[in-house]
């Protein structure tokens, strides 16, 4: 399969489908996916490079939201609401995770008085 061809064809996937008009002219599915991808990668990079646990968690939130953007775009592309429904669930889960994360971070901070994730290295090898 020729992947490059697939990629080059992506910009042509316009979001105008049948009677539904294009939202922003010239902005295709590809652009949304690109934004989503960039967000995802940014989140990933942030996750890999930051030491602060809260920031790291925020980065994972970024990745989740990147998925959300892609979902919306796909939902629009397929002209169904499944994607949007999915986004709702993703948001909910993200919220639950956030709660968990904050609780955990509090717990950890109590122990070591730091938010640096790299201090937790007693087990290895």
């Amino acid at each position: 399969m020729d992947t490059t061809m697939t990629m080059s064809m992506l910009p042509t996937l316009v979001l105008a489908q049948g009677p539904v008009p294009e939202l922003v002219p010239g902005i295709t599915l590809f652009h949304y996916l690109a934004v989503s991808g960039i967000m995802f990668v940014l989140g990933l990079i942030g996750f890999l490079t930051r030491r602060n646990l809260i920031v790291m968690f925020l980065c994972t939130e970024l990745m989740f939201q990147a998925a959300g953007i892609a979902l919306i775009a796909f939902g629009r592309f397929h002209l169904n609401h499944t994607g949007e429904a999915f986004v709702i669930f993703v948001l909910t889960v993200a919220a639950a995770e956030a709660a968990l994360a904050l609780a955990l971070v509090v717990l950890l901070f109590r122990r070591k008085e730091t938010l640096d994730g790299s201090v937790w290295t007693s087990m290895k090898g």
Partner: protein, 755 residues
């Protein structure tokens, strides 16, 4: 001791098998006869199953001896039982001989005992090697002197071993009986595999008996050496058996001879190039076997060392019987040798190409001749009288092989026959000396033994033996040696061999009488040997070889002062007298054609006769027929040898230690001969040592490379684990990065897989 329990428990189950019905033997003679007229004279005759007693009685004796050991018998009982059994065996043999003689020769009988190795190598095609006895004149000849001598020597040993009464005594007679049984299997087996059983069996008994004084390291080493060198020969025999079977489909003599007819015809017609190399190779392999068992070059080195065993053993096994097994083998399979006269074509280009230039019979002849010469030269330089006898045995065996090689199997067999008696006599006489003088065997430390009180019979027996060995005219040894020499001279292309043999005969006469003149006549003098403590009160259960590291010298000196030689008792004297008479009487076998009759009518000889002696005869010596001229020549040669010995070792000798011969300084030559031409050392450096080094290398390879690779394989996961452990850094970010990287790599892989 467990053997007899075993056997006693097993014998009921064997009973039906030992019902001893005469087997048909396959009627091989008849088939072959149609092809060749000569073979038609080979008839199978019925023979009473009684002959199984010939091997059976010695085995019984052995088992009884074993039983004695179990019952902790501390008397001479096992000896008497053994003598009885052996005498019975001899009686049966004699009866068997008469039966065979009555048929007028050229007959054979197969007596089936029970099936041994009997399997199908293909559906319906059997490999058969049964416990069956094959009786023909050759068998009779061999068994007569084997059982006869064994009975005599057992009697001798009953006295000789008397200091060892107890477990050792039982052990001795157990092995003794087992030996006679094995020898009987060897000689009477109706197939080559049973011969092989006897072949290895006598080897085992030889091993056990050489190592009889097992606490003496030299005896243990000698026993081991004998067994291993014999094994090399045995390998040849085993391979020969395989080759015979694959070529002819049988290893039973009765069926084998007819299969050879066609090849023998070719041989008779001189078309040796038509006979396949693989068939000709059989004889070469058999030669290897015979050389091993009969102590021929290059495998002779075990025999002199075998003298570590008790003297009766040396006399019976290592002089009279076992060592002649090689001669028997060749005499038995002579037809196979006759078709192997031509150079072994076809081996060129293989690893064994060098053999391709020589024929099997030439190997036999020259092997024998060279061994005879070499052993004689060594024998001349030795001081240990038993060893001299040992080398003389090797030398005389060489004569026999030379005889076989020049196709005078009658001469060889005759020499075996006479040699058995006179060499046994010689050994037993030496043994009596050894027994009486506490193990003293050095001819420089004994002198005038014959004139001491009670030693006359020993001396006379020794004289008879020496005369025979030296080939003094009209002795048995003279006749038998003459036949071989004459035959050698009469075959033109064996002329060098003939001269070698003649020269050896001269040396033989010399070294034989060297012993006689130094030890038995001359000034009376003796020094006891180093086995003094064996006569101490508490030392009786120790055996000869039981040396103490501590206190030996002091005790020795003390005892030496009181030492008196004890002359042999009635058993030894009787046996010596008997054997001396037998040695003399053996001479009558020549004019009466006793041996010749038996050999020439033996089946192998008849079969071989088919090939004809086309190339034999014709040559002359000094213009005379060698068969006649040799009477005079060898007589003169013998006399020259004796006279030389007389001048060098008797005339003017004042002390035991010195003689006129000491003035002859032959320098390095003498030293080398004394040291057995350094053959043992040569073998040690060229074979044993490299082998040892090789073994160590293999061991190292095994440990380091083979096992090392295994360990390496075991190490790999561990090394991998150790190498990968840092990847588990324990740092959250490290993990995250690694995961992301992993995903990236796998993504890349996916992309590549797509392309």
């Amino acid at each position: 001791m467990m053997m007899d329990q075993m056997m006693s428990s097993l014998s009921p189950s064997f009973a039906p098998v030992w019902s001893l019905a005469l087997s048909g033997g396959g009627g091989g003679g008849g088939e072959g006869g149609s092809a060749l007229g000569v073979l038609a004279s080979l008839k199978e005759v019925p023979l009473s199953a009684m002959v199984w007693l010939i091997p059976g009685l010695p085995l019984l004796g052995a088992l009884l001896a074993g039983l004695c050991a179990v019952l902790k018998v501390r008397s001479k009982l096992p000896a008497w039982l053994m003598v009885l059994c052996l005498a019975g065996s001899f009686a049966v043999t004699f009866w068997m001989y008469q039966q065979v003689a009555a048929t007028g020769g050229s007959t054979f009988a197969v007596v089936h005992l029970f099936d041994w190795i009997n399997f199908n190598w293909a559906p319906g095609k059997a490999f058969v090697a049964n416990f069956s006895l094959y009786v023909d004149p050759l068998t009779c000849l061999w068994m007569l002197f084997v059982t006869g001598l064994a009975a005599c020597i057992a009697l001798y040993a009953s006295e000789y071993m008397s200091h060892d009464v107890g477990p050792g005594y039982c052990r001795f007679f157990f092995a003794f009986g087992l030996f006679v049984f094995s020898m009987a299997c060897l000689v009477m087996g109706d197939n080559l595999l049973l011969l092989y059983l006897g072949w290895e069996g006598v080897g085992l008994c030889s091993y056990l008996l050489i190592g009889y004084f097992y606490q003496k390291p030299s005896a243990v080493a000698a026993a081991k050496k004998a067994f291993i060198l014999n094994r090399i020969g045995d390998l040849g025999l085993a391979l020969a058996i395989m080759l015979i079977f694959v070529k002819f489909g049988t290893i039973e003599y009765a069926k084998l001879w007819p299969m050879l007819t066609q090849y023998l015809q070719m041989a008779a017609a001189g078309q040796f190039d038509q006979i396949p190399t693989s068939v000709q190779l059989i004889a070469v392999l058999l030669t290897l076997a015979a050389f091993g068992k009969s102590a021929q070059l290059p495998l002779y080195v075990w025999l002199p060392d075998a003298m570590e065993g008790p003297t009766p053993v040396s006399a019976l096994i290592h002089a009279a019987t076992m060592v002649t097994a090689g001669v028997y083998l060749i005499a038995r399979t002579l037809p196979l040798f006759q078709i192997s006269v031509a150079p072994l074509a076809g081996l060129e280009g293989t690893w064994f190409g060098f053999v391709s230039q020589i024929s099997a019979l030439e190997i036999v002849a020259y092997g024998g001749g060279l061994t005879a010469l070499l052993a004689a030269t060594i024998g001349m330089a030795q001081f240990d009288i038993k060893r001299i006898m040992a080398y003389s045995t090797v030398s005389q065996l060489g004569f026999m092989f030379a005889g076989l090689g020049v196709l005078a199997s009658y001469g060889a067999a005759f020499h075996v026959f006479t040699h058995a008696f006179f060499k046994a006599t010689l050994f037993l006489a030496c043994g009596a000396v050894m027994h009486g003088f506490a193990g003293q065997l050095d001819l420089r430390k004994l002198s005038g033994v014959m004139w001491m009180k009670g030693w006359l019979i020993v001396g006379l027996a020794m004289l008879v033996g020496c005369l025979n060995l030296a080939g003094v005219p009209f002795t048995a040894g003279y006749f038998s040696k003459d036949v071989i020499l004459a035959e050698a001279f009469s075959v033109g292309h064996f002329r060098p061999l003939a001269w070698i043999l003649l020269f050896t005969a001269l040396l033989t006469a010399y070294y034989t009488f060297r012993v006689f003149f130094r030890v038995f006549v001359g000034p009376k003098h003796y020094e006891p040997g180093d086995e003094l403590h064996a006569h101490d009160d508490h030392g009786h259960d120790h055996g000869h070889g039981d040396k103490h590291d501590h206190g030996h010298d002091a005790k020795g000196h003390d005892a030496k002062a009181h030492f008196h030689p004890h002359p042999p008792g009635w058993a030894i004297n009787t046996v010596l007298a008997l054997l001396a008479i037998a040695s003399i009487a053996a001479a009558f076998a020549y004019p009466t054609y006793f041996v010749k009759g038996l050999v020439d009518t033996s089946t192998a000889q008849v079969a071989a006769g088919a090939a004809g002696h086309t190339h034999v005869g014709g040559a002359t010596i000094f213009g005379y027929d060698p068969h006649k001229a040799m009477y005079y020549i060898s007589g003169i040669v013998g006399a020259v040898g004796i006279i030389t010995a007389f001048f060098l070792h008797y005339l003017g000798r004042r002390t035991a230690a010195t003689s006129a011969a000491d003035n002859l300084n032959l320098g390095a030559l003498q030293r080398a001969a004394q040291n057995k031409w350094y053959v043992d050392e040569f073998y040690n450096f060229t074979i044993r040592l490299p082998l040892k080094v090789l073994s160590h290398i293999f061991h190292m390879l095994d440990k380091l490379v083979v096992d090392g690779l295994v360990n390496l394989a075991g190490l790999l996961p561990r090394a991998g684990g150790a190498g990968l452990r840092p990847s588990q850094s324990g740092v959250l970010h490290g993990y995250a990065v690694a995961m992301a990287a992993g995903i990236g790599v796998l993504g890349l892989v996916a992309l590549l897989a797509l392309r």
